[in-house]
């Protein structure tokens, strides 16, 4: 066994390419401004909040059932946290809406409390933050979370919901009860088993990479926007490799395919 672990070097190479291209683009962005496509769901979040204000009813922002640490879905929670900060600053505070953030993980709770509180303060409405109420820890396990969420939907007469984070088997309950209560729903997730259900049940959906790109878009930070362009570069590399590999395999040359899996 050497220093390098074979079979994993390709990932390392790709990450290095990513970091380098990100920094090059960041350097270039001093002189020219890069843009990325805006997802319609970002505007829909604003629409969700304004609808709630019009109706005089609260809006739910759910960061999902994930914790901060997860070996597969950590990014979902991270995106949920970023979006929670964004909407509380950009929409909730200026429009003076009532926000409810149901949480299901002990370690995410203080982070969310911090973000929402600071976001509301940054938006100019610190009085909207009520301790233990705006951000509430509702339940621990996923189905208890779902039951409590549905309880909030019915009893607080929620007007719209924004769901960004990790969602698993409980989405059908959350989204369908939301629709029954007449909520306007915006959702985002990367859980491929649940995306099909969510896409049918909600009004606006960001699936897969859309969610991660949206977190960069809302930051309005050139340093984040350039990473999304680096994403596109990685995808181009992937597509090119796939086509070259496929053509080579067609002519009986297996070299790239073998290299891709074992480097």
């Amino acid at each position: 066994m050497g220093l390098l672990i074979s079979g994993r070097m390709l990932v390392l190479t790709l990450i290095v390419i990513f970091v380098v291209s990100m920094n090059v683009l960041l350097y270039l962005s001093r002189t020219r401004r890069f843009r990325i496509r805006k997802h319609a769901a970002i505007d829909a979040m604003g629409e969700a909040v304004s609808r709630a204000v019009e109706l005089g009813r609260p809006v739910i922002m759910s960061p999902g059932i994930g914790g901060l640490y997860s070996t597969k879905y950590a990014a979902d929670t991270a995106a949920g946290l970023a979006v929670a900060g964004y909407i509380s600053k950009e929409f909730v505070a200026p429009m003076k809406a009532e926000l409810i953030v149901p949480v299901s993980s002990g370690e995410t709770l203080p982070v969310l409390e911090n973000i929402v509180q600071q976001g509301l303060a940054a938006g100019g409405a610190p009085e909207l933050y009520k301790p233990h109420e705006t951000v509430r820890f509702v339940a621990t396990t996923q189905m208890a979370y779902a039951a409590a969420y549905v309880g909030i939907l019915y009893r607080e007469k929620v007007a719209s919901t924004i769901m960004v984070g990790l969602f698993a088997g409980e989405v059908s309950m959350l989204c369908e009860e939301g629709a029954r209560c007449g909520c306007f729903q915006v959702a985002a997730s990367t859980n491929v088993y649940q995306i099909p259900l969510m896409i049918c049940m909600v009004d606006y959906m960001m699936f897969g990479e859309d969610m991660m790109a949206a977190t960069a878009w809302i930051s309005d930070d050139p340093g984040q926007i350039t990473t999304i362009i680096s994403n596109d570069i990685l995808k181009l590399i992937g597509i090119a490799a796939a086509w070259i590999g496929a053509i080579l395999v067609t002519f009986g040359i297996d070299a790239l395919r073998t290299f891709w899996g074992t480097f």
Binding site: Y69, T71, K72, G151, D232, A242, W243, I247, L248, T250
Partner: protein
Amino acid sequence: MNNETIGLLIQGFIILAAFSILYKDNPVFKFTENLYVGIALANWVIVGMDRTYKLGIKPAMAGNLLLVIPLILGAASYLMYSRKYNWIGRIPLSMMAALGLAFSARGLMTINFIGQIKAMMVPLTNWENVLSIVGATLAILYFFYSVEQKGPMGSLTTVGRWFLMLAMGAFLSQSLFMYCTNVIGSVQNLLEPPAYMLIPVAVALVAIDAVVSKMGIYWRSSK
């Protein structure tokens, strides 16, 4: 009545209460929801205490002083509530999040990116393989953010979207069987004696409520 019978009755009650949300939000569901939330929370705290003691405090007392670090880090996170020291509280939380993100990134790159691109390298000898690689390429084009989806790029991504929607429909149906298994399990549990004796009670309650609320509508409209 032995423990098993009582257990089955409790289970029957809980199942019916959970199913009652399909009718509407009602006191029985509210009761069960709060009961369940309370018990789940207690379970979680007890498990947490058990883990803290068995994995942390006990070995630390036995001399494994390294384990004092996580205990301190965990306790430090409570400083998040202090206005002055909340920068300390953030440190353990940030470390957890960062490690999780590093693990997610490396794992998904290996399995989802490298693995799927490798699976795309198929010999282009039959039209099915050609379709699969073309379809995958178009669907990936949908996820390009630096180009607006207009003009020729727009038409390509539209086709890409079709392939994505194809996958959504297919995977939705594929998961249907799993949902069937789950619901049948619960219904079977409910049909077990003596739990099924609760079913008529529930049906009667729903019927009474339906009649009463219908009458309420008539009263209101007649006023």
